[in-house]
């Protein structure tokens, strides 16, 4: 339990660190990375709420906060990729994914704590985001930027998304079994969620630093 708590705190700190990097370099980020900053902001608020709300409301609404965060993060990340690779397919995927997630989120508000519905909601959003990341990789292969890909911040965001949501997907697909069979032993599995989130925010923070560096270097060249 302590282990899970520690991971949970590190996860909260990792998104907060990203938020700080974003806020300190706000003027050196372009529109797309402002979305990433917004994601960090949403995540930090969700983490604070998840820590504070149960103390006052005796555990109620804990899942609803997570579900709302998930809906917003799907919107922000898919919008990030849509702005990078605005093809017809990406636009359709963006609308279908966000509308579906919104409908499922509303249904989750109605049928509170429905495990099957939550699994469907999560699986759809994770697959959707993975498809966006893969589409962006396809776009990179098609248009071949002349820079080393490891210096392209968007590449790190796509890698983080693909890696993180692939992991989430497998854990979520096991969700039903975890709840039904393992019951009290599920805690270790959930800690994996935190591990993936920490890696996700670490990679995104790195991409944000790279982005700020690139923007500053470009401004210096212009001078």
């Amino acid at each position: 339990m302590i282990f899970l708590n520690v991971l949970s705190y590190i996860q909260s700190i990792s998104s907060f660190v990203l938020l700080l990097i974003f806020l300190f370099n706000y003027s050196s980020t372009d529109g797309n990375f402002k979305l990433i900053g917004a994601l960090a902001g949403i995540s930090t608020i969700a983490n604070i709420l998840q820590e504070s709300v149960p103390r006052f409301l005796n555990g109620a609404y804990l899942n609803q906060i997570g579900e709302a965060y998930q809906l917003l993060s799907v919107f922000v990340i898919s919008l990030f990729f849509l702005k990078l690779n605005n093809t017809k397919f990406a636009r359709i995927l963006f609308y279908v994914l966000n509308v579906t997630c919104f409908v499922l989120w509303v249904l989750l508000l109605v049928y509170l704590n429905d495990h099957v519905l939550f699994s469907v909601y999560s699986v759809i959003s994770y697959i959707g985001l993975n498809v966006f990341a893969i589409l962006y990789f396809g776009y990179l292969l098609k248009y071949l930027p002349s820079d080393n890909l490891l210096t392209v911040p968007e590449f790190w965001v796509a890698s983080a998304v693909l890696f993180n949501f692939s992991g989430y997907l497998i854990i979520t697909l096991s969700y039903g079994y975890l709840v039904e069979v393992l019951k009290e032993n599920t805690i270790l599995y959930w800690s994996l969620f935190n591990v993936f989130t920490i890696i996700f925010y670490a990679l995104i923070s790195y991409s944000m630093v790279l982005h700020v560096k690139n923007i500053k270097a470009t401004s210096r060249e212009r001078l």
């Binding site: 990789f137 890909l149 497998i170 854990i171």
Partner: protein, 261 residues
Amino acid sequence: MNVYNKEFFLVFLIGLAIVLLLAFTIIVFVIAYQKRMLNERLKREKLEVAYQQKMLEATLISQENERARIATDLHDSVGAMLSTIRLTLHAAESQLNENNLFANSKQMLDETIETIRRISRDLLPVNLERFGLSQTLQEMAERITQSGKINVLFREEGEKTSLKKEREVQVFRIIQELLNNSLKHAEATEIVLHLWWSDTLVLLVKDNGKGFELPKEENFDETKTGVGLHSINLRTKLLEGTITIKTEKQKGSEFLITLPL
């Protein structure tokens, strides 16, 4: 942990590993593919540059050969014929009384012979082969100064390095073109021609003329800048050099060309 839990744990771990491996493979594939494609693109671009360089070299060499042929024809055939006519006229002059008419014809002929010599000299810089770049440039500067229209100050610094004949001709053509530009278009009264010899050869041609509007295109498209600048740029590229131009309206222009030796 019971048997079912262990089995589930194993399946879960394998599934997770496979999916993460797949994600990792996609990422590594994208990096590797991009590197490979960029390398191929770079190779292709290098080949294209080398091909263009060869084409350019061939064009300039054939241009030089053609100039040499025309210069030789002018000097040996037309020049010789004109000289013969001059001698004949001189002989006829002493037998006739129409001295004035003959004197005019002789003067015109002298001018024609001089023009032919000048054209021939410009087309084929014989002195370049005989005495080298420095001497030829010195003579050219003196000749232009003696014409009285413009003062050319020639200066040279550093330890001279002998250039290959083809490279020397290209350097000479660049300077010739720059001086021609100043003479024809700049309305300048003074030109500074400065050469620095070290690991590189740095040429500075500066005039106090009216300057010109610098083209935006780096490759100096001849349809927009004229043949002169285009040709200077091509020759500099062929010599793998760089060119820096500073120009200001009514204050003159400055060409700084750095060529590797």
